[in-house]
Each structure stands twice: as C-alpha cells, then as structure tokens.
Amino acid sequence: MDWLLLAEFSIVGLLSGGVLALIALGFVLVYKGTRVVNFAMGEFMMVGAYLFWTTHVFLNLPWWVALALTLVGIALLGAVVERFVLRPLAGQPVISIVMATIGLGAVLHGVAEAVWGGANLSLPQLLPRTPFMLGEILVPGQVLWSFALAVALIAGFTAYFHYSKGGVSMRAAASDPVTAYAMGIDVRGTQRRTWIFAGVTGAVAGVIVASMTSLSPTLGTVALGVLAVIILGGLDSIAGAIVAGLIVGWLESITVAFVGGQARDLVPYLVVLVILMVRPYGLFGTRDIERL
C-alpha cells in the first residue's frame, strides 16, 4: 500500500467532506426545526447556484452583490415553501412529507430547466486555486478554501444556536413546540427562519459545488448521497452531520483512489446499509422511545 497516496487522498477527501457537511447541515436544520426531511435540498442548491449565475455572470454584478441577492432570493424561496407547502402538511404522516418535498423538488427542477435550459453553464472560479503544500502532500486550493468556508458557516450557525435569543428560541421550538408556544415563542416564525437558514446553507453549498464543477439542473443529485450522510450522523445532530460529512468525503476519496471512480457514488449508500444494520438510529441520533 502506498502510504503517501493514502495520506494525500485522505486529506483531500476529508477536506471535500466539508461541503458535504454543509449540505448535511441544511438537512439537519430543517429536520430539527420542523421534523421534515427535505428531499428538495438538492434543488435548493441548484436554484441557489443558478441565481448566483444569473446575478454574477448574466447581470455582471460584483460577486458580493450577487451573493447577497442570491441569499435574499433563496431565503424568499425557503419562506414561500414553508408557508405554502409544508405548513399545510403539519402533522401529516412521514410519507406525505417525504413525497411533498420530492414533488417540490420536481417542480423546482422543471422550472430551472425551463428558465435556464438543460445545458451545462459554468461559474467563474471564486475560490483561489493556488495549491497548498502540506509537507509532501499537495492540497488543491479550492478544496481547502471550500472547507474553510464550510467550517466558518457551520461554526457561525452553531454559535447562533447557542448564544443568540433567536437561536435559543429555535431550539426550544424544535424540542417542544407546544411548550415553546405557551412560553410566547413565535413557533411559526422560527419554522420559517429554519427554512430560510436551510435555503441559505443550501445555496452556499450549491455555489461552491457549481464553481468547482459545472452548473446544470442535475447539480442537486449530489444531495441524495448526502442524505446518506445525514442518516449516518442521525438526523437531529449537527455534530453528527459534520462527522458523517467528513467520513463520507474520506470514503469517497479513498474509493476513487483504490477501487475506481464508478464505485464512488455507491459508497455512501453501502455505508448507510451497513450502519443501519448495526446502529438503526445512526451514529449520533437520539433513540426514540415509543409508548402506546
């Protein structure tokens, strides 16, 4: 075994897991806040990336104005989705919620294809490309910077949840909506905010992924593999999402290096099947206790 190769692919894999963790954070936010698994997360990423393309490349605005407009747009989308799709479905069985978000994904996918066309577009390189040497190991600059960006965002959200009043009220509403409501917390407002945050993380992840590869309506399929990440981490644990994102990024990279590229997309799903056999509620998820 080539140890240097292993180390190199391990580091690149772990770093590229940062973006996966960011996408996972979007899923976990929505699940913690509203008990909804957002199968349309990939489409949020895709729409975010397209909004950024429209404002930055098409309208030629500077990148920070474009990013701000993108985030505002995706926040609006999140709020609209919460109000008109998920709120009427509150309290419905799991299958309704799953199918509603899948249907939402189909709508967003279809609209994006109609508006921006099915062809591949490309975003300019946003992150510096200068590689970074770690001893003997070469780390591509984009991967490193996207990792740093993901870490910063995740840290920001974590701090928000722990120290700000809005974050604490979101946690309260997530853990017990009825009590939170009785204590005067605007539960609907926090749920709307949850969706907005999820949209924002999704859009940022989408822009990163699109600027590293290319932009097409199928950009969102990345997110399905990430769904595996979340199941690994347990759906309601931010720490779990991060760890699982890193693990899957690492495993994918190792698979590409030692097995071959065609098996790459399969890895998260195989890992999921194995983990679910051993620990049905994921690595960090809380175990539900049911009573009659």
Binding site: I102, A106, H109, A228, L270, L276, L292
Partner: protein, 347 residues
C-alpha cells in the same frame, strides 16, 4: 342508486363484489377488455399494455406503502430485478409462463435480502434504506455486465407460447391485461384475509399490532416480499413489452412515479391504485398531445419545454393532492358515489 343491499350473512358482507349490479359491471368490464385490442387504435392498445404493467407494479407498492406503511423508494429497482430475470431466463430457454413467476420470486428474494436488515427500522430510516437499495441495485445492473449487459442493456426475446410469438402490442395485450386483472383481484382479496388485516394493523399502530399477537418482523417481511413479487412480475412484463432491459429505465424517477401514482390515487386502496396509475399514465400523454396542439397553433418552442412542463405538472400534482385531497382520487370517487347513493330522494 343502491337498494336492497342488506348484507344478511357474513359471506355476503365479506364478498368482493357484494351486489348483482357490481358483478354485472365487472362482467361488462371483462368483455370490454377482451374486445378492446380489436376495436381500439394501435396507440390505445399500447397505452393499455403500459397501464397494465404500471397497475401491477403500483398495486405491489400500495400493498407495501399504502397498506403496511413501509415507504419504499426502491420499487423500480425491484422491477429491474424482475426484468433482468426474464432476460436471463429467456436466454436459458425458459418459457414465459415459468419466467414470469420466476421474475416475481427473484424480486421477492432480493426484497427479503434487503428487508431482513432494514425492517428493524421504520418510517424515514426505512425509506432511506430502500433508497440505498435502489442505488446499490442500480449499480449492480450497470456493472454486472456478464448478466445484465451493462449500460447497453440486455435484449429480451418475445414471449412465445407453443411457437406462437406474443410479439406486438395487440398480442402481448392478452398476456399483460389478464394478468393485471388477476393480480389486482388478488391484491383486493388479500385484504379479506388474516395476512392483509395484519398489514393494516401494522400500518395503523405497529406496537398495538404486536401486542395483539401479530409478529411484526414476519408480517413486515411478508408485505415486503409480496410487494416485491408484484414489482418483479411487472418488471418481467416490462421486459416482454419493451423487449429490452437497461439500467436507467429502473432508476429513482420510476420509483417516485409509482409513489406519486398511489398517492394521487389513494394510499391503502386498490381502487386508488387503479385510478392513480391510470391518471399518472395519462397525464404525460395528455401533456404531449397538448404540446402538439400548441405547436399546431403556432407556438414554436412548445416541444422544447415538454420535459420541464412534465416535471412541473408531476410535482404540482403530488403536492396539490397531498394538501387538498390526501386520500386521493379514490376519496373523490367515493364522494361522488355517496352523492348518488340515495339520489334523487336525498342528497
């Protein structure tokens, strides 16, 4: 109007068709189905065959998801198993009347392999496990080239009975549609038995069902196996109908299509399966026809947008039905029937 229907005995109460009118309508339906390929146009016969396959598969998914509450995002992969089984069986010279049950059984066995570890979990986690199964099976279809032909796919020879080839839509119709009728009746019948009732009990409250002495593991596995069997048979028919098995046919979009069909039709209802599968099969065809008209009226780019329009309509149908009519078309039909129940005397 329905009168004189008193259900004087248990036999009568449990009957599949409980009035003479219903039996008469069913006879009319059978005759109509027999005559259809000779009077309907080629396009409609093709649609009927496609619909028959969709009906069988959707019925299987409804047994799993609608009646037992196991959400499967991997139904299409199990159809794929059936389709490839038929391709392999035909290569080995096995006739279709053996190959189709074999396809169902192969699918059921794969279902058991996936089901044994997955059935410890439920709800969302189970859905994601079946999603994983979908991708793993799709990978197998793509990569196991010696059996599945890889990305190019495998050809399926025409089904033949004593040298008579069931090639062409009109002939294969007489394989697909009767089988669909039998399997739908079978599904309907299932829920008059202990097994079917156990499925419903598990869906409604699994812990209560277990307290009542229903072995959760046993019955969930059985539901999974039956649902996969239906998928396998449908997949086998798909093979005989389209004569080819390729990996991308049996991807996630098809699984989602069947889930959409049973949601639009009505979860936990065989009538809903029929209505939903029919509706969802017709919608893309209708959209295509509408795009054709739009083009005839001078809208130039109409066909460019067909794929995206289809997706948007598909998504809107799912979301709309979930929000406004969660019990689906079956409930709408029931409401119409209730209105005419005593009409014109009381409405």
């Amino acid at each position: 109007m329905r009168i004189g229907d008193f259900h004087a005995s248990y036999r009568h109460d449990e009957a599949l068709f409980d009035t003479r009118v219903q039996r008469a309508w069913f006879a009319v339906l059978v005759v109509a189905l027999l005559a259809f390929p000779f009077v309907g146009g080629a396009y409609f016969v093709y649609l009927a065959c496609l619909l028959g396959i969709h009906l069988i598969s959707a019925a299987g998914l409804n047994i799993m998801t609608g009646y037992t509450g196991l959400i499967s995002l991997g139904h299409a992969a199990f159809m794929g198993v059936g389709c490839y089984t038929v391709a392999v069986a035909e290569r080995a010279g096995i006739p279709f009347y053996l190959a189709l049950p074999l396809a169902g059984c192969a699918s059921a066995v794969i279902g058991l392999v996936v089901g044994v570890p997955s059935l410890r979990i439920k709800g969302l986690y189970f859905a994601v496990a079946t999603l994983a199964a979908q991708f793993v099976l799709g990978f197998v279809f793509r990569e196991w080239e010696s059996v599945t032909g890889g990305v190019r796919g495998a050809n399926v020879p025409a089904a033949s009975l004593f040298g008579f080839e069931l090639a062409g839509d009109q002939r294969i119709y007489f394989l697909i549609v009767p089988l669909a009728v039998v399997m739908l009746l079978g599904a309907r019948n299932l829920f008059r038995t202990r097994v079917g009732r156990a499925f419903i009990a598990i869906r409604d409250r699994d812990i209560s069902a277990e307290v009542l002495g229903i072995s959760l593991f046993h019955y969930k596995l059985l539901a999974f196996a039956i649902g996969s069997f239906y998928a396998g048979v449908a997949g086998g028919l798909w093979g005989y109908f389209f004569r080819v098995a390729t990996p991308e046919l049996f991807g996630l979009p098809l699984s989602v299509f069947y889930l959409a069909a049973i949601i639009v039709g009505g979860l936990g209802s065989i009538l809903g399966t029929i209505l939903g599968a029919t509706f969802m099969t017709m919608v893309p065809e209708l959209l295509r026809a509408m795009v054709g008209w739009a083009q005839a009226l001078g809208v130039q780019d109409a066909s460019v947008f067909l794929a995206s329009i289809r997706q948007v309509v598909f998504g809107l149908l799912i979301v709309g039905f979930l929000i406004f009519e969660p019990h689906g078309l079956a409930e709408m039909w029931r409401r119409v029937r209730r209105f005419f129940h005593l009409w014109p005397f009381r409405t």
